[in-house]
Symmetry: C2
Subunit: 202 residues, 2 copies
């Protein structure tokens, strides 16, 4: 069986990353989404194992100590990370997997799995980004500027990625993302079997 | 302006390569097709500059001498080749170009333009290949076997390519080919401009 591929997807808030990923996964449900392990408390409406695994700080630190994470991060005093084992299992079973992480996490995964393919989702322009981050216009200018600064510092690292998808028209961005994932399946390292099959018969 | 990309497409007869290429170019007419220069006589129905440029043997040998060809080949006493200049101009203008050549020509182009992306079109199985090469069943077994041998010797070199498209269902193969071409446009080297644009505005 051919090994699956790991796709790292990053993008600042305002890039529409989540909508694009949901659209792509809906069209291709065979693509798996990695689930992060986090130490913060579960919020109302959240379900264990849906988007996150909620684990204790001790459990997380044990995983860290045993090098069981592909990447991790600390945010507002809580740990966030991607356990290695489920990713490894998914790929070994021949399934492609998406890892939605930030630019720091992406750099850590590239270090550990250089074969991972990384995709950065971009807003089409500074103006659109600013508009999207202003939300319904109810936010203070200070908050909008804070969000903008965070988004721009992520965009400044977009050049570390293999592919850039510009989210101007959402359906086109979904197709762009899928064309990257599907074309990676056509790469020679995934296709050697068919060549051997045809040649063996002769 | 971003430089266009050169896509080498090869595949044995029976792979359905021409139908797939026509289908892809119909959906994306902005993709240019390279025109070979050849020294054989024009056949009835052929038009100068449509699929081939018909040139004299002297002209061809002059081009060879001046290293003006990306690749060339001799077939039944005639020269076939791809002039460098139009390919270079097309890419410089930001347009993607398809070069339809055989495995030998592909190897020559890879040597001169290592950035070219090569795609091999495969039949889905030995049985289907044999069936397609038998045509309407009017050919002699000898002719079919000769075609099969030629096809298999091309397939034996498919591993030299970046991507393999298996032509089982024609529409899927067209979409596969397009997903390769379109995803290559999303690679970071074609997308740096948009990153700079967004960052410059802030």
């Amino acid at each position: 069986m051919n090994r699956g591929k790991l796709f790292i997807i990053s993008g600042p808030s305002g890039s529409g990353k989540d909508t694009i990923m949901q659209g792509a996964l809906k069209k291709h449900p065979e693509i798996k989404l990695s689930i992060s392990s986090i130490t913060r408390d579960m919020r109302v409406g959240e379900v264990e194992g849906e988007k996150y695994h909620f684990i204790s700080r001790d459990e997380f630190e044990e995983m860290l100590k045993n090098d069981m994470l592909l990447e991790h991060n600390v945010f507002v005093g809580n740990y966030y990370g991607t356990p290695k084992a489920p990713v490894e299992e998914c790929l070994a079973n021949g399934n492609d997997m998406i890892l939605e992480i930030d630019v720091n996490g992406a750099a850590q995964v590239r270090e550990k799995m250089p074969e991972a393919i990384s995709i950065f989702i971009m807003p089409p322009s500074f103006e659109v980004l600013k508009k999207r981050l202003s939300g319904r216009g109810t936010e203070t200018e200070e908050l909008v500027n804070k969000r903008l600064t965070a988004a721009l510092s992520e965009i400044a690292r977009a050049k570390e990625y293999d592919y850039i998808v510009v989210n101007d028209v959402i359906d086109e961005a979904i197709d762009d993302l899928l064309s990257i994932i599907l074309s990676e399946r056509l790469r020679i390292n995934r296709q050697k079997q068919i060549i051997d099959e045809v040649l063996e018969k002769c």
